[in-house]
Amino acid sequence: MAQSNTVRILDGNTFVVCEDTGDIEATPSEPTGLFSIDTRFLSTWVLTVNGERLNSLSYDDLQYYESRFFLVPGMATHYVDAKLSIIRERAVGGSFREQITILNHDEKPVELEIRMAAASDFADLFQVKDEILNKKGEIYTEVEPDKLRLGYRRGNFRRETIISCSEEARFDKHGFAFTVRLEPNEQWDTQVDVQTFAVGPGGRDLRMGLRAHSTERLALQHDLEEWIAAAPKVNSQHGRVAATYRRSLVDLAALRFSPLSLGGATLPAAGLPWFMTMFGRDSIFTCLQTLPFTPDLSKTTLRILAALQGTRFDDFRDEDPGRILHEMRYGETAAFEEQPHSPYYGSVDATPLFLVLLDEYERWSGDVALVKELEPECRRALKWIDDYADLVGNTGYIWYERRNTDTGLENQCWKDSWDSISYRDGTLPPFPRATCEVQGYAYDAKTRAARMAREFWGDPGFADQLEREAAQLKERFNRDWWVADGEYYALALDPEGRQCDVLSSNVGHLLWSGIVDDERAEKIAEHLVGDRLFSGWGVRTLAEGEIRYNPIGYHNGAIWPFENSFIAWGLRRYGFAEEAAMIANGILDAATYFDGRLPEAFGGYQRELTKFPVEYPTACSPQAWSTGAPLLLLRTMLGLEPHEGHLAVEPRLPIGMGRIEVLDIPGRWGRVDAFARGRLDLHNLAD
């Protein structure tokens, strides 16, 4: 969703999406509203003065959790004559609060009828997303002298919105109103408080006592300042890299999410507006990107995912013992098992990536205690890879085939849309499927687990076994997946072992994982920055020339900043610093067109053709792993790498980037600084 005229503020999984007047008028296709725990609590919130709608002069997103709207009565054609100003200031943080201020600029007194229309459809976020709105329960409204209660009931499932005001208001079934007389130059204001409740049978709220931080405005402000102060400082000669970094840091703060029932620990939620929840894959990728800057996120993410690791076979949730979750939801469809997200386990990459993150986290932080604490979960994750993920049998690969054929995910890899995996002739393979990047993650997971077993778990025998398995996997993979006529790795294998032989961005993940044979790495690097994959901004999900290629195909041609950051990291790992810098440069250039906030995806059009990156039509923003992308790109260009207890810095920056300094990088070394100057001439490479 990317309507340019909508304003969003958020705190954790409570957020408001509204028009530029502050009004909310949700329709099935217009996902505005006040949302919390995956439920819409306000679908109508329209302010009128003397029956007239208001017009926006300007609005400010002051912070991620607050915004301010300056309004006048009437339409744009005559507002210059307006003798009234209306200011709406609002903040979310647990509840939703709005301060309404009205100023009379006239030399005469005025009589005003100020009215707020309020209603809620209590739509589940899934219903909003898929435009389904037939509620099975009952919506009710209760008018009380000092408040308006909007509610929804289905069995014991109850959600309520309670609206109250600091000034005396007349509440009715459709909102509330004030009659006000204002003398010349007089002003009037009221504070409106909107609280959301998930009420259990005993009247107890589902979320009671579970806030990660205080929800008061000043506390939020303080929390944000602390968050920024704790992170490294980035200064750049041209300002734009530093600005993008700062934007990312603030958005990461906004996207921190505290799952219910886990004691207030925070992890990155996936993104606004559809994914303000816990995702295995997205949270892990975001942590990997942000480790040098905000390492605490990794620790809590690992602990939370470990605490919810699968323990049994559940076909509806695609749960197996040892599997790391895919997605958790709190709305009505999850509650009544119309959707499987309580939680849903249908992803095959989160489990190996969990191991990768833990090892990477230790390399930076030196937090051996966590590696020891999570040893049992790591062993269960490795067992899942060996025992439950090889759905074809004796291949040693990780495959997927959903057991929940009704509401489960068909593609359980990061490219999870229905048509993302295909053969070169454009047809889709049968199940089970195995995608290449997941085999890379498994190789990396075993290699890293071997290090942890040897160094921290005191189990050298297990370490040897894991290294043997990893080596065998690498050998097998390089035999079965290499597309000889194209000289790259296949996107996927079908159950007969046939290759899905399209050229895709997934080959870039393989460099990051280290599964690529050294003598093949150069060819892969060539493909990644070649014309078919590289647009000038970044690497396309699918190469130009493939039958399913479409520059705005979600996973069939669009460019995903998150993925590009990992591709750049992988290129750097194999020594292709120029190629890595080229991708970093393209993505960071693109970021400046979005005020430093990279969207989920943008079009795969050639850079010379459009001159600016075309945002993907329904892209999510801010989205955690897009927000993390500039951070990983910085790490990659500066060549930051933990090495024998200290931080190695080996910058390879393009000339145009000028000087960049990153100060106070936290880790096992305490805090150190990194300095870099652009010296790479990328034009030589392009020729």
Binding site: G155, P201, L260, L308, T311, D315, R317, E319, Y388, P495
Partner: protein, 124 residues
């Protein structure tokens, strides 16, 4: 025939140590309400060591539900997290302990789990 609820708790008690609770500490009480009558089951967890009793002990976490729903959970026919979201089960106190104990409940009796495609046998 012993019901699934009793079997669940007896089995837990017999185990004595549960690796999935090795990081957990505290007391969890299930209050199973049926009309005016409430049956109590209390689980004391001390880093994996488990002690089950039917006493109405003070607890860090108190979970309320019906004996029928609990029986379905103990038999794998219902899942606890969804039941909490639905309001069919309530939690007072520290919810973390419940989230950990919930993982000890069995999967659905009809769950087939992952199967290998060509060997036509279950992986497990």
């Amino acid at each position: 025939m012993v019901d699934a609820t009793t079997r669940f708790f007896e089995d837990l008690d017999r185990r004595g140590f549960e690796p999935l609770l090795a990081k957990s500490f505290g007391t969890l009480r299930f209050d199973l309400h049926e009309g005016a009558r409430t049956t109590h089951w209390t689980i004391k967890v001390d880093r994996g060591r488990i002690d089950v009793s039917q006493e109405d002990l003070e607890a860090d976490t108190v979970v309320g539900t019906s004996p029928d729903l609990f029986e379905d959970m103990a038999a794998g026919r219902e899942q606890g997290i969804a039941a909490i979201l639905r309001g069919d089960m309530t939690v007072a106190g520290d919810p973390r302990l419940l989230v950990q104990v919930e993982r000890l409940f069995p999967g659905h009796p009809d769950a087939r789990g992952p199967r290998r495609r060509f060997s036509h046998e279950e992986v497990v």
